[in-house]
């Protein structure tokens, strides 16, 4: 029989056991969940973040707009281009700069490559948590081809620091275009195999169907975003809603599922990658000629003002609130990260679940502790 904490037992009652999950747990990753258990059931769960808080926002106030580029991608190195994309859009808007079309396309290409890199990690670990070893070995291996492609374009392997205010750091080499198209062709076939071995697997269905269901209304109330929102029937996609940086030039869909469970949240990532492939192909084939960055100098002059810029990162809506007082440094730099926006759903989803379901639900939220903590 399940007990409820509020009505029958207090946390101090003998029957209820308080347990810490994390922060040293290898799967949780610098993140703790405080659990109150009744036998095998969770009666209450509270997330405890902050183990990797580095004060990125305060650091941003000490550095000028160019110096801020390399450290701002550290919170989410899996998705490093997308966190800089929103920052660059914000600074561009403050400076009223017109980014050249070739740079806009290159930004889109890099952002979509990073989306795939991030989603591959996400579904690999989802496989691991479900005891599906093939998924983690395949995805971690295949992810490297995308990292290779990123390296051909940006020069670095993980922290690309490619998207910067005024454009992108460097032009794409000619051979990387051909390599990119080949990678897309190969990966498209490969995704069919993921579907067969993982998403259609009866064991995966049994472990994640109907587990951790987030209703559409709750997704709206909690402010859920990205893969979490789209798995709950909420068609939110900043790329469609306010087509920044020439996203309006490309044909793609926003995948939406309605189940709202752990399986759907993992499956949306695969559907997302299918759309990313479409966008990368169109952008590589239609790449306009021209310069790739505006000359801003080492200390750009940014007029006073306030912006709220946002992009669709791999985990959802990435937003920046930048306040400039006309000095070389931002007066206030707020990073609104998708992991922090989805965190409120976690204690709600962990109520009355089995202990064995915690890893699946936790990871299906695509939560990245370093990103949430900043």
């Amino acid at each position: 029989m399940r007990m409820t904490l509020e009505s029958e037992y207090s946390p101090d009652a003998d029957r209820i056991m308080a347990v810490s999950l994390g922060p040293q747990h290898p799967g949780a990753g610098h993140f703790r969940i405080r659990l109150w258990l009744d036998g095998d059931y969770v009666v209450k769960a509270l997330p405890d973040a902050g183990y990797v808080h580095r004060g990125e926002e305060k650091m941003g106030e000490y550095r000028n707009y160019t110096q801020n580029v390399p450290h701002l991608e550290r919170p989410v190195i899996l998705d490093s281009s997308n966190i800089l994309f929103a920052y660059s859009l914000g600074v561009d808007e403050l400076m009223n700069s017109k980014v050249p079309p070739r740079a806009q396309y290159l930004r889109v290409i890099m952002s979509e490559i990073n989306r795939i890199i991030s989603h591959m990690y996400f579904i690999a670990i989802q496989g691991l948590f479900l005891g599906h070893t093939t998924m983690i070995t395949w995805c971690m291996g295949d992810r490297d081809f995308w990292i290779d492609l990123g390296e051909r374009i940006a020069g670095a392997r993980v922290t690309f620091a490619y998207i910067i205010p005024g454009g992108v750091r460097n032009d794409i080499p000619e051979f990387a275009i051909e390599k990119g198209l080949k990678t897309c062709d190969w990966f498209e076939k490969r995704m069919g195999e993921y579907e067969k071995i993982f998403y259609d697997n009866p064991m995966v269905h049994q472990r994640s169907d109907g587990v951790g269901v987030l209703s559409r209304d709750d997704a709206i109330a909690f402010g859920a975003t990205g893969t979490v929102a789209r798995a709950s029937g909420l068609a939110l996609d900043v790329r469609k809603d306010e087509p920044y940086s020439s996203y309006s030039d490309f044909e793609f869909k926003t995948p939406v599922l309605t189940q709202g469970d752990s399986w759907a949240r993992a499956y949306v990532a695969l559907l997302d990658m299918r759309e990313s492939i479409k966008i990368i192909r169109q952008a590589l084939k239609g790449l306009p000629q021209g310069p790739v960055r505006l000359k801003l100098g080492p200390q750009p002059r940014v007029p006073a003002g306030e912006v709220y810029s946002r992009t669709e990162a791999a985990r959802g809506e990435m937003s920046y609130h930048i306040v400039s007082d006309g000095s070389p440094r931002p007066y206030r730099l707020k990073i609104g990260v998708p992991s922090a926006k989805n965190l409120r759903a976690l204690p709600h989803l962990l109520k009355n679940v089995h202990i064995a379901d915690i890893p699946v639900i936790y990871w299906s939220l695509n939560y990245w502790p370093v990103e949430a903590d900043r």
């Binding site: 902050g50 709206i220 939110l236 206030r332 707020k334 922090a340 926006k341 409120r344």
Partner: protein
């Protein structure tokens, strides 16, 4: 821009105490006095469709002796998803008390908690204002206030 302006006009005409700070394509910022902010928030959610909290930010205006809290709210209404309303209020730095808006947007809970620990804003009615990102034993000024200086600076 016109549509954002139209939304702003609806708020300022319904609640005459509010002030339109700026309007940009798909963005608008409205400031409200602390006594009115909950009514304005409810109006924005129920009548204008701003139902999806994006984030909560704070700004320390130390020269004006004010702390500002800004709620960024998106929308899930079809056709309006690209719009973001910034709803702000300013309180004096020496008595930074605001009322919580969790009753309007449940998702604001952790964002308000973060703003509380980083700026020292006291959200009245908030169920849990313990530290979320800071260590439990943090015993200094709230770190994002301008008079807090990072070690080594």
């Amino acid at each position: 821009m016109d549509r954002a302006k139209a939304i702003a006009d609806k708020i300022t005409s319904k609640h005459p105490g509010t002030k339109l700070e700026w309007v940009k394509p798909r963005r608008l910022k409205v400031s409200a006095p602390a006594s009115m902010i909950k009514d304005v928030a409810l109006f924005a959610r129920d009548s204008l469709g701003f139902d999806h909290i994006s984030t909560v930010s704070g700004v320390d205006w130390i020269a004006k002796n004010a702390l500002e809290v800004v709620y960024f709210v998106g929308s899930t209404v079809p056709g309006q998803e690209g719009f973001v309303l910034a709803l702000s209020e300013r309180v004096p730095r020496d008595n930074p008390v605001v009322s919580t808006l969790i009753g309007v947007w449940r998702g604001a809970e952790y964002h308000e908690r973060e703003t509380h620990e980083m700026f020292g804003l006291n959200f009245q009615g908030h169920p849990d204002q313990s530290h979320l990102f800071l260590p439990e034993d943090w015993n200094d000024l709230p770190p994002l206030r301008k008079d807090y200086v990072s070690p080594g600076r």
